[in-house]
Amino acid sequence: MAALYEGYTLCGLVPDQNLSSSGIQGIEEERDRDHVVVTDSTRSVTLYKVSDQKPLGSWTVKQGQKLTCPAVFNSQTNEYVAVTDNKVIRIWKEDDILLDKAFKATVSSDVWKVHCTHGGEPVVLFQRGAVRLLDSLLAAPQQPIEEVLAQEEAIRWSTIIVAETQQFIIITTEQKGEHFLYLQRLNPNSVQRYRLEREEPGLSPLSFSATYRDKHICLLYLYPNGHVYQSVLSVRGLGTEEGVQALPLPRSLLLGLPVGDGQLEAASAMALDEAHVAVVGVPHPSAGGGKDFLCIWNTNFQTLQAGKEMAGKIYGQLWSYSNKVFIPHGKTLSIIPFECPKSSLASALGKLKHTKIEESKTPNSVPSWNNILHGEKAQPSKSAETRRTRTTRKSQSTTNLTTDQVLELIKTAPVEEIQKEVEGFLTRAEFQDLQPSVGQLALTLVSRSLADPAFYSSSTLAQLVHTRCLCHSVCPDLVLLALEKKDYFLCQLCLQFFPDIPEAVTCACLKAFISIPDVDAEKMSLEPDSVEFMENLITRDRAEAGLQNGFSPTSSVVNDRQTRAEDVKKASAPSQLSCPVGLHKAVLINEILQTPYSDTFLLPHLKDLSSQHVMLFLQYLQFLYLKYSQDAFPQMEGFRSPSLSQIMDWVCLLLDAHFTVLVMTPEAKGLLLNLHSFVKSQVRLVSELGKIEGSLQELRKMKAKESIGQYSIEIIELF
């Protein structure tokens, strides 16, 4: 669940007299994530260190001059670039004190903005739509600048985006109520013009936001009626034809925000990641008509994830750098850290419907439907709790890193260090905060492991899974990664602790487990409890076998006249019964048997199993069934073990999926006959139970008759 944290103030503002604009032109990231350059709407540029909330430097232009574009930082040369009075480009360094003494160059046409990506070269965008790289422009400042835009067409918004290695300038323009989008590629230059679909007449977009992901540029724009649209632009197809023709830009409605009375005026929407949108200046749906809210919406689930009321007027401006939202409101510029962990469906049932639950919600391990729907207070799972207290003392010596720092560390550090730090982090962290950060840690670890085949930290991942804060939907690649790395212990843990493993993954695990060579299987280390259970089951002495409540399914197998003689012999001689798979393999398969599934989704995947595998699996299930029904019920307390009904369900599922194949396979014949007799005995058991149920019900009726009031006169007879 996305969250907005307690914000803090970066600086005060000097808004206009009539409060129409905030007094800030722009905020740009400086050398790293912790430094920003704030350009105010008149004359000064200030450099801030964000974490210290303090200005490191400030530059002002002379009285009479005016900054017309936000200053940007060129990280290649460590210089600042800004434009005064539309035509004068100024470049200075941090140790320059007076801006007037710094370098300046006058260009021949009005500049709209200077854009610069981190590590990239600054790009100058002219008001008439032309684009120049700063270096080439400064080589000949007075070079003629062409007009790209039509008459009466004016730029409304622009940004720069790096897609792969390409830089793109995105410009939106307005011409006679129509809105256009220019996608301008630099080096080689090419431009494509798109026409935005019309919203209701007279409505023009309030804000734009562009992000690059999955080889597409996503453009997000907000209309005053609260509609947030998304258009996806392909980067690839561009440049083949020099488009003067404006292509229609397809759009999809991403969100319909509640606008309350009237229309939005100063509002802005910005994509935070693929599923989350930050919106400012839009009313909170459960807080009446006030528009002074910063909200995070999940677009996948259309839910409000977090909201925060901002004091004072909202100007509809919003910037976001490194998980912090910069928002001018009233007379301050505030920074609000936020977090958008990957949403699983469970955690995304957002605030809108259950505002009350949000407050009372205590940490729960993996969000479960029950908790979300019924507001049940979940107890933190005991194992995590005790483990934390146990290791608290130990970890006090290690340095205390924040989540972000640990995340950074994971991206680069060697396995041992990561292991140490993650362990320290887990012991330090409050249980409440654990869930989002564990998800992030796991995600980062998995993505690094995927990217870097040499890197794999099994124990750290196991530790994270052990917190029970993870579920499959938070970190979908984890199980498959574990399978790929043949880390079967981790697989076992995931199968144990994840409540939401998709059937496809379960099947993949099953396939992998069955096809492990037994020699390899015996080498791995698995959870001792389950291994012990299996050991007990395999080596259980026949002498212990007895009737369970007088009912012995095996005897019915033996008595079944229809079963062939040799099958009878086989089934009735269980002392010779040997486990068809090795110990560890059996342990892993047991884990599969216990994972939740729904058979409709499982069946298609089961069909992919080869007939050898199916045979082996069925033989193992038969072995389990026989063991369970012969011996006194072996589900010892404290051991996780598949139940008899789970075993039967899997037998049925397998038979459903592969029956035709099995019927045609000669070696499966005995097996099928055996299974048939199992089913028969189960049917018999159920019918016997049905009979008992009938008599029990009669007993209950008899009991019910005897309701005695306060007083009665009865006749009894003594003999």
Partner: protein
């Protein structure tokens, strides 16, 4: 045997009071149990857990703690007073105000010379135990916060006091606090709630064991003041601890109704260093366990659910014997129901009131198993509230229903009831001054005399008539026993009066001569009920060990029947019943029939039939029912037991030969208890 019409009565709303605290005297094997209403009950563990004595409660007494010093019993309560009880006259002997506000706890040192009480104002006060009274000695240094629990070190040199958030160890000589053990609060949300040390134990090796409101049982080293072990045993409170005499075992009672045992044993077989290990959990209560006693062989527990539970420790007793059976004592071992056989009236005794009911009537006849239509419903004639703050200790209704008497520890009241068209009740104003403090009341069968047992086992005889109430005589015996008379019984012909006291003596008085007639040979188990046969004038007595005797008053010897019964012996199934016989009546039409009952059955003993063989089935009603009539005779024996009615408070036979059965189902009692602490169950 025949058919009986049974009035099945369930409208006696008897509600026992919660058990607040208990104290076990291992010398005398007596357990004192204090209930929330202030009543104190004494159980004799040597005599089949028989409830020997009941000291009635008093409004506002709020006993919090009990303490035996030798044979003397002290209690202290939230009224701020220390009380010593007069166990011979079943009343408080004296009370001493401790002047420290409510008293939470009381404890005596091992020599029995000093009493320490813990008060609300934070003081531990030491009283010297003198011959006939106690005397304030001094205060230990005062601390802020109340003293909730106290325990003396066996050497009497130190006292451990449980308070809020800490345990303080005092030097008993100087009165200075020598050590202070800080007790952790509960984790999580209740971190801000102070933790109350409900109970402490102080062992001779200076180990301190504490139980607190955070659900912990903690073992401390009292010499160094260090915490040795913490056992978190419940989410709720650990209310009470009890240490066994040999200090090898400690039991803790919790709000969840569990009792948890800890034992001082070596964790592995061959090691010598012992430690306290949690061993067993007993779950016999539905509510708070607020009182515990650790006897040599059993765990005795009681609490909110009002039942006293004796759970034998199976490593201390022989298995599968009567001794190893779990015992729950839910009902008092004396009758709270009076029955006027001639008038068909029932008198229900509550601590604070009496209720007089007239039984209903039915019409027509039915066959066995039928329920007859009720023509007239039972009717509550009188509800008589007691005066004063002392609770009612005994009551009596004359057979004709015309007289009603009750007594508290301080006074006796007698009422004349007249039934014309309306009912009128008049208090008899002038009672003889001898009738002041009595333990048992009984009317003669012709309602002309009232017998009242008084101090030193004496019986006061008072003549009651329309005109006046006149003192006649005080009957005394010569054995010198000072124990209270707990059973009184007059013969139908008005000639005999039998009394039984808790020294197991049964005395017979001749009322015509107003003097002692004889004494029944003393049997070593206390009689639980006695009755004189209306025809033969034989005395039937049933004892706590379930033995039955018949004693001929005329011949002054046991009858043949009784001798035969003793010679043949009672069936073990009869002897192993765990509730005493509390009432005997006779069948006026058939002198051979004796009707008696305990909590779970009533039995008609037919003296004309042979006793069951030792290998016979005691409860043979089903067998007999299935046999043809001709064969029944051969199979039947003297004990006709009926278990159709349960939780019996009274079984009596009216003059019209219909039985009255007063039931008080335990479920009804349970349903009136407050809700127990919430426990997480699966899927709740």
């Amino acid at each position: 045997m025949g058919e009986f019409k049974v009035h099945r009565v369930r409208f006696f709303d008897y509600m026992p009071s919660a058990i607040r605290t208990m104290a076990f005297n291992s010398q005398t094997e007596r357990l004192a149990v204090a209930r929330a209403d202030g009543a104190v009950e004494i159980f004799n563990f040597n005599d089949n857990f028989f409830q020997e004595k009941v000291i009635p409660g008093q409004d506002g007494r709020a006993t919090e703690a009990l303490c035996w010093v030798g044979h003397r019993l002290f209690s202290a309560g939230l009224n701020g007073e220390i009380t010593e009880y007069d166990l011979e006259n079943l009343r408080p002997q004296y009370t001493v105000d401790a002047y420290g506000g409510p008293i939470w706890t009381i404890s005596s040192n091992s020599q029995g010379t000093q009493l320490a009480v813990g008060c609300e104002d934070g003081t531990v006060k030491i009283f010297a135990i003198l011959e006939e009274r106690i005397q304030f000695q001094r205060n230990l240094n005062r601390h802020k916060g109340r003293i909730i629990s106290l325990c003396w070190h066996p050497s009497s040199a130190q006292i451990a006091a449980g308070m809020t958030d800490m345990i303080t160890i005092f030097d008993a000589e100087t009165g200075h606090a020598t050590r202070r053990l800080l007790v952790d609060r509960a984790m999580g949300a209740s971190k801000n709630k102070e933790v109350v040390v409900w109970s402490v134990g102080y062992l001779s090796d200076h180990t301190i064991i504490s139980g607190d409101s955070a659900g912990k049982v903690q073992i401390w080293n009292g010499l160094t003041g260090t915490l040795v072990r913490t056992y978190l045993v419940t989410k709720w409170d650990v209310l009470v601890l009890s240490v066994s005499k040999d200090e090898s075992s400690v039991i803790a009672g919790t709000s969840e109704g569990t009792v948890i045992q800890f034992q001082f044993i070596s964790s592995t077989m061959d090691q010598h260093d012992k430690e306290w290990v949690r061993t067993r959990t007993f779950r016999n209560h539905s509510h708070d366990v607020s009182a515990l006693a650790h006897t040599d062989t059993a765990v005795v527990s009681g609490g909110m659910d009002t039942q006293l539970v004796v759970r034998p420790l199976l490593d201390k007793v022989e298995k599968n014997t009567q001794e190893s059976a779990l015992r729950k004592i839910a009902f008092p071992h004396r009758s709270l129901v009076g029955c006027a056989k001639k008038a068909g009236l029932l008198l229900f005794q509550f601590p604070d009131r009496l209720e007089l009911w007239k039984l209903g009537e039915s019409e027509g006849h039915g066959k066995p198993g039928d329920r007859l239509p009720v023509k007239r419903k039972p009717e509550k004639l009188i509800e008589l509230k007691r005066k004063g703050e002392d609770h009612i200790c005994c009551s009596a209704l004359s057979a004709c229903g015309g007289w009603l008497a009750y007594s508290t520890v301080s006074s006796v009241r007698l009422y004349r009831i007249q039934y014309n068209n309306t009912i009128s009740i008049n208090k008899v104003s002038k009672l003889p001054k001898e009738l002041r403090s009595v333990h048992q009341l009984c009317f003669s069968s012709d309602s002309s005399k009232l017998f009242a047992s008084s101090c030193q086992s004496s019986v006061i005889v008072v003549a009651v008539s329309q005109q006046e109430c006149r003192y006649l005589h005080t009957l005394k015996h010569k054995t010198g026993s000072r124990q209270p008379v707990h059973l009184l019984c007059a013969s139908d012909d008005g000639k005999w009066l039998a009394t039984a006291n808790t020294d197991c003596e049964i005395h017979i008085y001749n009322l015509h001569k107003m003097k002692l007639h004889c004494m029944v040979p003393v049997y070593n188990s206390c009689p639980t009920t006695i009755a004189i046969h209306p025809v033969t004038n034989n005395l039937i007595s049933v004892h706590a060990d379930q033995q039955i005797f018949e004693f001929s008053l005329v011949q002054k010897e046991y009858t043949q029947w009784s001798r035969r019964l003793q010679a043949q012996g009672l069936l073990s199934l009869w002897l192993e019943r765990d509730t005493p016989i509390t009432h005997i009546t006779f069948n006026p039409k058939n002198p051979d029939h004796i009707i008696l009952h305990d909590t779970y059955m009533f039995c008609i003993i037919d003296q004309s039939l042979p006793f069951p063989e030792l290998n016979a089935v005691l409860w043979n009603q089903m067998t007999l029912k299935s046999l043809p009539v001709s064969q029944r005779i051969g199979q039947s024996h003297a004990f006709k037991i009926c278990k159709s009615f349960q939780h019996l408070m009274c079984v009596s036979l009216l003059e019209d030969l219909s039985l009255v059965v007063v039931e008080r189902p335990l479920l009804d009692i349970m349903s009136q208890l407050p809700a127990p602490v919430r426990q997480k169950k699966f899927a709740t």
